[in-house]
């Protein structure tokens, strides 16, 4: 075991050296002049500043005092850092209630999405049944369906079930799969060697057993991608909560913050709004930095194949 790790490290060191070499060379092996990447770097640093600006402005505004925020010209760096704004933002509105509702919805949606889409994708990728691929075209077709056309009937249905102003309309649909996630998982699960599945079948394992013992461990990276996508989409959703959640005690962060802002429309404290918004984004930023490669892989699988 330890030798394996050692060789791994050696390989890593070697490849790092090779990488460094590679950056200084053209594809045909000739050495690049030192200034060749300079222009590219300058452009990219400028672009980076532009793309970091909204996030920076959010944090800077969140830390400013009321007086400093109203100052013109605006200060780039807060002169005194008001960390108390974060505490005030959390107490100025039922932030914890909003946070809990968002968390309940997001966690439920993630669990249901992963389970339902995994089982469905297994049916499309690992079992050979007549008509399967034609049925899969229907999945693809529903990808392009504009959702507004389903908006009013769904509201009507949930209203008649008496479930408006509960979290259910935002959670239950996740239990029935979604075309995009089924598509993404199927592409991944088609790579599971058929021989492995067939061998398990010959040994008398049921499909349900194969699903959990073979397909689940091999599909874990793709399932992680689905979990992350579902989490981000659910956490950031605005229109769903806007339509279904009217009472403050069931509202999520997205709609709760908007309510806070429109109730205090005349003199809303933007530093508090920015502080609260930053607290909303923080879990996403953490998720992104921890699972970065799953984000990138998921987006590229979904868009390309």
């Amino acid at each position: 075991m330890s030798t394996m790790i050692q060789t791994d490290t050696q390989a890593a060191v070697r490849s790092k050296k090779a990488d460094a070499e590679q950056y200084n060379r053209r594809a045909d092996g000739t050495r690049r002049p030192w200034y060749s990447t300079l222009i590219a770097r300058v452009v990219m640093i400028a672009l980076s500043l532009l793309f970091l600006l909204p996030l920076y402005w959010m944090i800077a505004s969140a830390l400013k005092s009321d007086e400093e925020l109203a100052q013109f010209p605006p200060t780039l760096i807060p002169s005194s850092w008001q960390f108390g704004n974060f505490v005030e933002a959390v107490t100025a509105m039922p932030f914890l209630t909003f946070f809990a509702n968002s968390a309940i919805i997001t966690v439920s949606v993630v669990v249901l999405s992963v389970l339902s889409n995994f089982v469905i994708a297994y049916g499309f990728a690992c079992i050979d049944w007549p008509g399967r691929d034609r049925m899969f075209y229907v999945v693809i077709a529903t990808l392009f369906l504009p959702f507004p056309v389903t908006l009013i009937p769904m509201f009507d249905l949930w209203a008649r079930l008496g479930l408006v102003n509960t979290l259910f309309p935002l959670i239950i649909p996740a239990a029935f799969g979604s075309a995009f996630y089924v598509f993404l998982l199927r592409q991944f699960m088609l790579q599971i060697p058929r021989a492995m599945l067939d061998a398990a079948r010959v040994d008398g394992a049921s499909e349900w057993r194969i699903l959990w013992t073979i397909a689940f461990p091999t599909s874990l990276p793709a399932l992680t991608t689905v979990a992350i996508f579902a989490a981000v989409a659910s956490w950031n959703d605005f229109m769903g909560p806007l339509i279904y959640l009217q009472d403050q005690d069931v509202q999520t962060l997205s709609i709760g913050l908007q309510t806070f802002r429109s109730v205090n429309a005349q003199d809303v404290s933007f530093n508090l709004l920015m502080a609260a918004s930053f607290l909303v984004i923080l879990p996403l930023l953490i998720l992104f930095f921890v699972f970065q490669r799953y984000f990138i892989r998921g987006i590229t699988i979904g868009g390309f194949k």
Partner: protein, 330 residues
């Protein structure tokens, strides 16, 4: 299950025939008839995808049919719908606010979709530069895509504030006077379009995947033939990116038709000034949930559905002329 001579036809070299024979021998063993297996597989397969089938019925077939039905009625959500025939559609064609909202949405789409493709492609080219810290740039360019539309809108409200916003300070440097971009019917649309460009990270990553799929040898051959970087982009990169471009174009158009959250937040749900940010989805939402005109809103939804479908078909039809699938064959 752990059979080492796994029958993977792709990896099998000379042992391929033997592996096939092994499979044939295996399937020659006594087992239930072929049709019985097929029927059992059909049953199991359908069982596994049954959640999706139920979902399609409840969340797609039923609502689409019900929307079409409701669009011929007057319905407030309280009492039973009353049949009004084509009246909602007639009203929609005469409604000046429908005209305004369609105009706003077209304005948005015509600028935001091409601009979005250019920004995303530029970002992808930047993300594909051969410099050591490129992973850092990728992270930075993608980060704003994580910020939810509502929070990004709050940031822009602070940013563009006529009294203390940084936007006016920048204008001041260039000798401009105070502008309230969000107080102008065209300005508010432009602000929303600019805001959307910061979320180009998703489309950029899809372009990036396309860029990395272009074989290096093609570029090397072009360089030998004396093609410079611009020539290489026009003759190689761009044609080979067209399949990805098609995907991003369709997502872009469908997103533009449905632009809602940013406009709702920035205008606090009004769509003002002068209905300048009243996009089609905003007007649909207002009719459904503000005025309780669910029948009329359904007619608007059906029209949007038809337009979306027509645009998707048009794009697919056009794509047969410009999309190049050579890269997948190669």
């Amino acid at each position: 299950m752990s059979s080492p001579q796994a029958v993977d036809s792709r990896t099998a070299g000379p042992g391929r025939a033997a592996a096939r024979a092994a499979v044939a021998a295996q399937s020659a063993r006594p087992r239930p008839g072929r049709s019985t297996v097929r029927r059992r597989n059909l049953r199991t397969g359908l069982l596994f995808i049954s959640p999706w089938m139920v979902g399609v019925l409840i969340f797609i077939v039923y609502p689409v049919a019900y929307s079409i039905g409701l669009s011929f009625t007057r319905y407030s959500g309280m009492e039973a719908p009353t049949w009004v025939g084509l009246q909602n559609y007639v009203t929609a064609f005469l409604d000046p606010l429908v005209r305004t909202s369609v105009g706003n949405t077209v304005f948005y789409a015509v600028i935001a979709v091409p601009l979005g493709l250019i920004v995303a492609l530029s970002l992808a080219l930047a993300m594909n530069q051969n410099v050591r810290e490129v992973a850092l740039y990728r992270t930075i360019f993608y980060a704003p895509s994580l910020i939810p539309a509502f929070a990004m809108s709050f940031i822009f409200i602070v940013f563009l504030n006529p009294q203390f916003g940084v936007f006016n300070q920048v204008l001041g440097i260039f000798g401009g006077s105070n502008v309230n971009l969000l107080g102008d019917p065209t300005g508010v649309k432009i602000a929303i379009i600019l805001m959307a460009q910061l979320g180009a990270g998703n489309a950029a990553l899809i372009f990036l995947a396309g860029l990395r799929n272009v074989p290096r040898t093609v570029y090397e051959a072009a360089r030998v033939d004396g093609a410079g970087p611009i020539r290489q982009f026009i003759s190689i990169t761009f044609p080979l990116l067209t399949p990805v471009l098609l995907f991003n174009l369709i997502t872009g158009v469908s997103g533009a038709l449905q632009v809602f959250t940013e406009a709702y937040i920035v205008t606090n749900g009004t769509g003002d000034p002068d209905a300048g940010a009243l996009f089609y989805m905003m007007y649909l939402y207002k009719n459904a949930f503000g005025f309780a005109e669910l029948g009329y809103a359904s007619a608007l939804a059906v029209l949007l559905f038809l337009v979306g479908l027509a645009l998707a078909l048009l794009i697919f039809w056009l794509s047969r002329r410009f999309v190049n699938y050579d890269v997948e064959a190669g």
